[in-house]
Symmetry: C2
Subunit: 342 residues, 2 copies
């Protein structure tokens, strides 16, 4: 009585084999698309699979084969669309290779990040793509390697160790930005960086200084703030009335750039006329504000694709040489940039 049909056990390879009148090993070969099995046998097995409603059990297969056909991705911040696009790029390649992706977001917390690494090891992921949280310790990657975990860093790198990496070359876009400012007569240029410390933070600062030197300019200010719209707007409010303030600002990212745009605008300082503003990342919002926010662009989806390819290769050949891949960046001019006021 009472249809207590607990979760019905799903058909196994043995069920398929019986139905098709072959051994389990043969059925397994068909599932794995091995060329070792004859066309007729293959057809019989495939028909049987459909017949019994067979679903491949990746977990069981992985246990014997010592790989899980999964990878893990750890991202610092899922609400930033930049990372969403990165993730989409990763997923496209990983899915194409027949693997599935575990995702976790660290919220820029190294402790949470460590927790996710443990969880993913327990799930036996075949490899890991990490964009390390700000403040991640130098031992993070060496520890992963000691465990024999294939790992690729994306966008940021920690510890300077030898590890596959896919990121962006900040220099091209930064140089384009500074060159344009020089051309427009700016010689009082400020830089606003974020108070989150990771390699991209440093790279952008270094690239800024190098570009400034190359164009014979000197930075009048380098300011560090929390990378939120509100903090940046507050900075703009302070600068709006200041004497000797820079006539142009380059920002670590568009969040800060848009915040400055907002803050200056609300204090009657018009971007592109009274002050020049340049962001970084070229997110969609840069095109929506008026005047548009000039920015430095790259292709986050492409970085994701490269990172995924690096990881698949590392899983395939653990002893391959370390590869560092960077995609170029370029300056995208918009109306927030203009000639210095006479």
């Amino acid at each position: 009585m009472g249809e207590k049909s607990a979760r019905q056990t799903r058909p196994t390879l043995m069920d398929v084999a019986k139905k098709a009148g072959v051994s389990r090993a043969t059925a397994s070969l068909v599932v794995r698309k091995s060329p070792l099995v004859g066309a007729e046998t293959r057809a019989a097995v495939e028909a049987a699979m459909i017949d019994v409603g067979y679903v491949y059990n990746v977990g069981a297969a992985g246990m014997r084969a010592a790989r899980s056909r999964t990878i893990g991705v750890i991202i610092p911040n899922l609400s930033n669309p930049f990372f969403g696009v990165l993730l989409a790029g990763i997923d496209r390649i990983v899915d194409g290779a027949g693997l599935a992706t575990f995702i976790a977001h660290s919220g820029e917390s190294p402790a949470k990040q460590d927790g996710f690494v443990t969880r993913m090891r327990e799930h036996g992921v075949d490899g890991l793509i990490v964009c390390p949280a700000a403040g991640t310790g130098d031992d993070f990657v060496p520890r992963l390697k000691r465990w024999g975990m294939p790992v690729v860093e994306a966008l940021r790198t920690v510890g300077g160790g030898a590890v596959d990496y896919a990121g962006m070359d900040q220099r091209g876009g930064m140089d384009g930005a500074v060159a344009r400012l020089a051309e427009l007569g700016h010689d009082r240029v400020g830089f606003v960086t974020a108070n989150l410390y990771h390699s991209a933070h440093d790279e952008r600062l270094v690239a800024f200084r190098a570009a400034m030197a190359r164009h014979g300019l000197q930075a009048v200010t380098e300011i560090e703030i929390a990378p939120t719209h509100a903090e940046a707007a507050a900075l703009a409010a302070r600068m709006a009335g200041a004497a000797d303030a820079p006539t142009a600002w380059i920002c670590h990212n568009d969040v800060i750039g848009l915040g400055l745009h907002w803050g200056f605008s609300d204090h009657g300082v018009v971007p592109g006329r009274d002050v020049s503003l340049i962001g970084f990342d070229n997110v969609a919002e840069t095109d929506l504000v008026r005047p548009g926010l000039a920015s430095v662009a790259t292709e986050p989806g492409e970085i994701g694709v490269l990172a995924a390819r690096l990881l698949l290769r590392r899983i395939e050949t653990p002893d391959a040489d370390v590869e560092i891949l960077t995609v170029p960046t370029h300056f995208v001019e918009r109306a927030s940039v203009g000639a210095v006021r006479g």
Copy 2:
């Protein structure tokens, strides 16, 4: 010669048991934090785990226990930050329960969505949270249920079947928006919807009509476009010069709203003064444009939390009653809304 140390096999529960001088079953009880084992034995096993560097093998455990401690999430579009926040909410609950999350994005393609469902079944996920791609067939959820897969829909629902659902109640915010327009004297109001068909599309349109009727207004126009900034801007360009155009527009989402904002602004029609604009979703950008874009707000993270809780409950008790949960929405006024011009 040559340290060919292939991937070292990691320690098993047997290694831990030997080290601690107990049987494998006892070690297993310690790992699973069973209260059946004595404090002294527990301590010895825990020490041994650290000693040998034990990592729990969730896959092997799951195979025997017939659950994987994983769930799958299928999202239509990862580059929309709204879904990023939803995902973060899901992850927080799922992680808290000790499970890991597979993620896939369908790109609004039902075919890709089916592929991911298969992949996730093969990986033996314990359940699925889906925001169905536009155009998903009515049989989608029934099929999952026939397979015995616990499933929760988020934000959108298809087929009208009995399935757990976490979404938003469009009506409150829509009514607030229309009420405010009526108050400001608008009686020529248009609605711009997206050409992607899913339940939220219909709900918003129905809510719009109901609110208009309630406030004694009549829609002069309902237009359907592709939900991109550019398409919306093009629509604004056509409307900018049109006689009898609505004096206020409500949009299916902020992408369309921001596109209209951009298009009108670039044609000298100032939002809030010459035309009133209201979006939907209250994404961060609404606060960055000038004048700010009024919108209807909800809490995507909260929807994620609810969806995750529904799924965990469904996995726990497969026969529980179906639950439909909606979080409220509310109108957020900004300067893009103003009195109708005399």
